[in-house]
Structure formats: structure tokens, C-alpha cells
């Protein structure tokens, strides 16, 4: 049991904990904060996988920008509402059985999975390696990303403006 394994256990535990808290907390803002916990733990897992740049992007985009979007989404809605839940024994049991079946199916599928030898040297000049890959090998997907971002921006403007004019 080396340090990497312990770090992986802690990080995956906090990631799952964040997800469970998000489902079980009552207030929407607390749910948002538990999602941030999951995002940050995933960034830690990226660090373990020698993907430093992706880890920083995870923190910058997900726990920074996407969280802001979610926070604004909450503020636009009636966020004082509390989650009222009904308990149903039969449904809980069925969901439990489903979770178990899913677990064993996935476990059986990935038990003897072999990915081939892992990539080495990813931690050396990580950002530069990513840059060379994107701008020398994956040029067309990279330019497509700009189109996707443009469509997202325009679509959001069209949708939000329509909503705003109805309010007037």
C-alpha cells in the first residue's frame, strides 16, 4: 500500500461523498458546494494520473466557472424551496437491487480489463505536450471546438433574450 493508493482512496472517497451529499442535502446552495467537493476531488485524481494541466483546468472551469453558472441558475429560480421527499419502501428496495445488479455487471466487465501499457512521461512538460498534440495532430477538432463554443454562446443569448422580453 503506497502513497499513491492511499491518495486515490481518499480522493475517490471524497468524490463519492460529494455526490451522495448533493443528493441528500436539503438546501440548494449546500448541494452546489458538495458538487464543488466532487469537482476538486476529481482534480486530485487527475493529478495522480500525471495530467497536471487537466487538473488545473478542472479546478478553473468546473469548480470555478461551471459553479458560477450553477449559482446563477439557482439565483434565477425560487431557491428558498426545500426538497420535500417521500419515502417508499418498495421503490427503495427495487433501486437497491438495481444498484447491486449494476455494480456486479460493471465489476464483471472491468475485472480483467487490460488497457495495454500505460503512457509514460506524461508528467514531463505536461502543458507543452498537450499543446503539441492539439496544434499539430488535432487541428480540425480544435477548430470545431470554437464553432461549438460559438453555437453555445449564440444559443444562450437567443434563449435568454426571448425570456427577458416576455418578462417586460
Amino acid at each position: 500500500m503506497n502513497g499513491e493508493f492511499i491518495a486515490f482512496l481518499i480522493l475517490s472517497f471524497t468524490a463519492i461523498l460529494g455526490g451522495i451529499l448533493m443528493l441528500n442535502l436539503k438546501k440548494v446552495v449546500h448541494m452546489l458546494l458538495s458538487v464543488v467537493l466532487t469537482f476538486v476531488s476529481l482534480a486530485g485524481i487527475y493529478v495522480l494520473l500525471s495530467a497536471e494541466f487537466v487538473a488545473v483546468v478542472q479546478i478553473l472551469i468546473y469548480s470555478g466557472a461551471v459553479t458560477i453558472i450553477l449559482a446563477f441558475g439557482i439565483m434565477l429560480t425560487k431557491h428558498t424551496a426545500r426538497d420535500e421527499r417521500t419515502s417508499n419502501r418498495l421503490r427503495a428496495a427495487l433501486v437497491g437491487v438495481g444498484v447491486l445488479v449494476f455494480f456486479f455487471t460493471v465489476y464483471g466487465a472491468i475485472d480483467n480489463l487490460f488497457f495495454g501499457p500505460g503512457a509514460e512521461g506524461l508528467h514531463v512538460e505536461n502543458t507543452q505536450q498537450i499543446g503539441e498534440r492539439i496544434f499539430a495532430h488535432y487541428v480540425i477538432p480544435f477548430e470545431l471546438v470554437s464553432i461549438v463554443l460559438l453555437v453555445a454562446l449564440m444559443g444562450a443569448i437567443v434563449l435568454a433574450r426571448k425570456e427577458g422580453e416576455e418578462n417586460k
Binding site: 472551469i61 466557472a65 446563477f72 434565477l76 428558498t80 509514460e120 508528467h123 435568454a160
Partner: protein, 124 residues
């Protein structure tokens, strides 16, 4: 393999800093709670002891316009993230990468122009 261990071990510092950052407010606030006197009166418990009475809930419903600003921030944040690997690897890539990045930025700039023309940036 050796440099991988150096890479992983250097993150021990970050873990130490993280623990300090988490423990510092917890220790400071709980130590303060143990030390300070606690004698609340009704007058002390008001939000502003010598100000106006607060009314309404602090978390009001926001205008939808704020959402557009947040969304544009996310879009251009993602654009900026692509600039970092480009800038770091620029020495190895040369002039072709510059043209690629120019196309990328121009396409997103069109989005900014569209938002501008539609009056999203103007506050009414």
C-alpha cells in the same frame, strides 16, 4: 520513473497546504468560541444593532441578464484555457499554430460581436 516520483512527491506540499488551509479557520473559530464570553440579549442579536431594521430575504431572485454575463464568462474562460498550451508549445509549433489560434479567436470574436450587436452587453 524517478522523475515521476519527484512529481508525485512534490504534491505532498500541496496536501500539507490544503490541510493547513482547512484546519486554520476550524481551529481559529472553535478556539474563539471557547474563549469569548457568551451573554446574548435581544438587542445584541439584531442584524444591525444601531442601523435600520432589515426586511425581506437577502437571497432575492436575480435578473436573467446576470446569467448571460456568467455564461459569456464561461465561454471565454474555456477559450483562455486553450491559449495556455498554445503559448507554452508555441516555440515547437511555429507560424502554423499562430494561424490556427487566429482562426479560433476570430470565430469566438464573432460571438462577442453578435452579443454586442444584440445589446447583451448594455445594461438597461
Amino acid at each position: 520513473m524517478d522523475s515521476l516520483h519527484i512529481y508525485q512527491n512534490s504534491y505532498t506540499f500541496i496536501v500539507v497546504f490544503m490541510f493547513v488551509a482547512i484546519l486554520l479557520p476550524i481551529v481559529a473559530l472553535s478556539a474563539g468560541k471557547l474563549l469569548r464570553p457568551h451573554q446574548p440579549t435581544k438587542e445584541k442579536m439584531t442584524t444591525y444593532e444601531s442601523g435600520i431594521e432589515p426586511f425581506q430575504d437577502a437571497r432575492v431572485q436575480f435578473n436573467v441578464r446576470y446569467y448571460l454575463f456568467a455564461l459569456m464568462f464561461v465561454i471565454f474562460d474555456v477559450e483562455t484555457v486553450f491559449l495556455y498550451p498554445w503559448a507554452v508549445a508555441y516555440e515547437q509549433l511555429g507560424i502554423f499554430a499562430l494561424i490556427e489560434m487566429l482562426i479560433f479567436i476570430v470565430v469566438l470574436f464573432l460571438g462577442l460581436v453578435y452579443a454586442w450587436k444584440k445589446g447583451v452587453l448594455r445594461w438597461r
